[in-house]
């Protein structure tokens, strides 16, 4: 899994490498990243490094220093919570718009198909977390599509790109499997209700449900952080947190 990214350009590889480092907590929030140092480190010239830094800035992982240059953005607990809350608000808006504007039969069928496949996962003995994660991601992606708002889809994608704000964050927490499955079962209930509300054109209900659905993730973070480091260790998405 390490360092073998073989995409086409140096800039792409630098982007991937640096993103991984930042998200992995390799650079504490506030650290300034110097082009020359990184270029030497990565064995490439400054040009693609610059490119990668600018992209990371656009992703929201770096801030531009006033006098030029980039600084690693620090994420406090509050920022994580606020970002998840924001995702809830945006997905809520997507759900409301879907209900208000109406969804096509095809889209509805897709949603039902995903729901059905998730249902099936709960019937098997050993829960397949990776499969759930995939279907869950699909579901949330589809939800954005249902809004029929290109603008909204774009913003949801942006926010969701931050790993700790993604709908499938915290699913890699190995230590609490059994408990987690129960939570996911409840989440699936919300998925169903959400589609039901959208189909019935109940905009307000759809919006409320989507927001509450995001709260599950928020509760998860708050739980993980209220218990000492032991629990946090297994959760990759929280490595970036500035203590």
């Amino acid at each position: 899994m390490a360092g073998l990214e073989r995409t086409s350009t140096h800039a792409q590889r630098a982007l991937i490498t640096l993103r991984k480092r930042i998200l992995g907590g390799a650079y504490p929030g506030g650290t300034r990243l110097f082009e020359v140092a990184l270029a030497e480190d990565l064995g490439i010239s400054r040009t693609p490094v610059r490119d990668a830094l600018q992209r990371l800035g656009a992703e929201g992982l770096l801030d531009r220093a006033p006098a030029g240059g980039f600084v690693v953005r620090g994420f406090a607990v509050r920022d994580v919570v606020d970002t998840i809350e924001l995702r809830g608000v945006l997905e809520g808006t997507a759900a409301r718009l879907a209900a208000e504007r109406g969804v096509s039969a095809d889209h509805l069928a897709q949603a039902r198909s995903i729901l059905h496949q998730i249902d099936a996962l709960f019937l098997v003995q050993s829960f397949d977390m990776e499969a759930y994660s995939n279907f869950n991601t699909q579901f949330h992606h589809l939800l954005a599509q249902l809004s029929q708002s290109a603008v909204l889809i774009r913003e949801i994608d942006r926010i969701t790109a931050l790993p700790f704000a993604s709908p499938s964050a915290f699913l890699d927490d190995q230590s609490r499997q059994a408990e987690l499955v129960k939570t996911l079962s409840a989440a699936q209930g919300q998925h169903r209700a959400l589609i039901e509300a959208i189909e019935a054109r109940e905009g307000f209900r759809a919006e409320s449900l989507a927001r509450e659905h995001a709260r599950a993730a928020r509760r998860n973070v708050e739980f993980l952080l209220s218990h000492e480091a032991a629990l946090r260790e297994g959760v990759q998405s929280l490595a970036i947190l500035s203590s």
Copy 2:
């Protein structure tokens, strides 16, 4: 007002120039921007042009072409409407959070001060639109601050940077001054109610009011677009619209 930007770097100047051109509709949506051509045109090398293009991409004015390069993003009427709606949702969230989390006496005083200054504008014979625009921008900026959510503030700033989505868009429409002032008077009523709701910790009301407040802008766009080109001419913010 034209072309004399004397900021420090070439990249900055290129950014400003290109942004102005794009927003002014100089490049129809879908137009591909070539680095060399722009560099020659602007009399600088490709490097700062590249920089400017990347920033414009981050601003959402350009899309990255799959095989590299940048394409001017086309904004349809629906995109403009959706973006304004999104601003309403985000500002609504800011208002709700402000109500739920509470605001400091100092912030409240600032809000009241702005409201008071706007009130004063309505007492003068010839309405000072520029002053209103400034105070209005201040008010909306403060509203974001009240949320005490750095994440939300950042996103609101992002969206608001698109000129047709800014709270003070469409105020440069010279042709309907008298009518516009009436609208703004109503808007000021919403401003007041909004602060009132926040102070009373009425989160739901605050959120609803902020959303409805944004609807005024949406109605304005829809009105301008339902009447033929004559009206649109005076409205700079709509130049970018792809026919």
